[in-house]
């Protein structure tokens, strides 16, 4: 599965190329755990999908830099550019809809 854990040292590199889903989560956030499971399901379905998870509790400076005020926040990047975002848990189909919209463009 293409789920990678990011930190302040590698986050920017991990979102730089291709289509990437960045999941900003909190260590003790229950909805974050729910969304994490949804992402794991999608990753099991699409193994070449790039998913980057960033723990905002451990990396507050990155969270601040990217304007994260609540978790989970989901950013969708295409070649380093933010193309879509969502605050709160996303259900699988809306995530797939965003993937369909940007992954192959």
């Amino acid at each position: 599965m293409a789920i990678q854990t990011a930190d302040k040292n590698n986050f920017k590199d991990l979102i730089r190329e291709d289509f990437v889903i960045a999941d900003f989560y909190g260590a003790t956030c229950v909805p974050c755990k729910l969304f994490s499971r949804i992402l794991e399901d999608i990753a099991a379905e699409i193994p070449f999908l790039n998913i980057v998870k960033l723990n905002t509790t451990e990396n507050p400076e990155i969270a601040e830099e990217y304007g994260i005020t609540a978790v989970p926040t989901i950013h969708f990047y295409k070649d380093g550019q933010l193309v879509d975002s969502h605050v709160g848990v996303m259900q699988p189909q809306p995530v797939k809809d965003v993937i369909a919209q940007y992954m192959y463009t």
């Binding site: 599965m1 499971r37 794991e40 399901d41 990753a43 099991a44 379905e45 699409i46 193994p47 070449f48 797939k96 993937i99 369909a100 992954m103 192959y104 463009t105």
Partner: protein, 306 residues
């Protein structure tokens, strides 16, 4: 406190079964959760024929730039690349070519590679690796998930029967309720609100409806006072009932519980321990613990019927 319970209504005399919604297992959710266990064990094996769910690599030739690509990879049937082309590729073998007339133009698709998705059967070994105590087999795990579902449904179904049972127990019990105790309860809660607001840089008595929004479900200080005064009697009754139940079931709340609560509060709300103590004095904590114990006792009784 001078207030006390004279006679308590036995909650077991209250028939709460008509108030409880029956539990209906969500089989679809159960199956989804069981299938999820196989996610880490999914294998991708080089294959010859494409089926739904397989990774495919194709060469596309078209006048439309989006579909004129030497190499494109997608999951057949996922709907994430192009529904018609994904459907077209299902059943094709490597090297085979097909054509499609899309609204975007004519596309020639050649299948150049397939990775078949292989999902293993759910096994006891997979369950064992979860490391859940007493959950060693698929059957155990199913039962575990079902119990979780039932617990969750119970929490959802609890509010109304608990509210009604509480109302009946309070109405059916006999209390001596002293006005000064009621005033203590009301003022304690008011002080707590005042402290919390001050810690946020506001003055409770001067707060605007906008400032109350999302914090306390009232629009003005006077509404808040009225609400606390109204709730004060029942809070006092719940506290007295909680003390009564504690005498028989051994429930206790003390300094150690308070310290644990303060530490947890400070961590949860990202405040200092000093602020946590200021907002939650020991006396308020103890009062709320015993009042809350009444809820716990009634909840346990309701659970027997679920």
């Amino acid at each position: 406190m001078k207030s006390r319970v004279l006679q308590i209504k036995d909650y077991r005399e209250v028939d709460i079964t008509p108030l409880l919604k029956p539990f209906v297992p969500d089989e679809a959710a159960l199956e989804t959760e069981l299938r999820r266990l196989t996610n880490p064990y999914v294998r991708w094996e080089t294959g010859e024929t494409a089926s739904a769910g397989d990774q495919v690599v194709c060469r596309l030739v078209s006048d439309c730039p989006r579909f004129n690509k030497e190499k494109v990879r997608f999951v057949a049937g996922s709907g994430m690349f192009h529904k018609e082309l994904e459907a077209l590729v299902i059943g094709m073998t490597v090297g085979e070519a097909r054509e499609a007339d899309l609204s975007e133009g004519r596309v020639s698709l050649t299948l150049t590679g397939v990775m078949n998705r292989v999902v293993p059967e759910l096994s006891d070994e997979m369950v064992e690796k979860l490391g859940l105590e007493g959950v060693d087999t698929v059957a155990d795990y199913r039962a575990y998930l079902l119990a979780q579902q039932k617990d969750s449904a119970f929490q959802d179904a609890l509010y109304e029967p608990q509210k009604q049972l509480m109302a009946e127990v309070i109405a059916g019990s006999e209390f001596v309720l002293c006005k000064e105790d009621w005033a203590v309860v009301v003022n304690r809660e008011l002080d707590r609100c005042r402290t919390l607001c001050r810690q946020e840089g506001m003055v409770l008595e001067e707060m605007t409806p906008e400032q109350f929004r999302g914090r306390i479900p009232v629009k003005s200080y006077h509404e808040l006072v009225a609400m606390l005064q109204y709730d004060g009697w029942d809070s006092l009754c719940r506290y007295l009932l909680g003390c009564w139940y504690a005498q028989t079931d051994g429930f206790q709340a003390g300094e150690a519980d308070y310290e644990a609560f303060i530490a947890d509060y400070a961590k949860t709300w990202h405040v200092s321990v000093e602020n946590a103590r200021e907002a939650n004095p020991y006396e308020t904590f103890i009062f709320n613990e015993y009042a809350g114990h009444t809820y716990t006792v009634l909840k346990k009784y309701i659970r027997e019927f679920y």
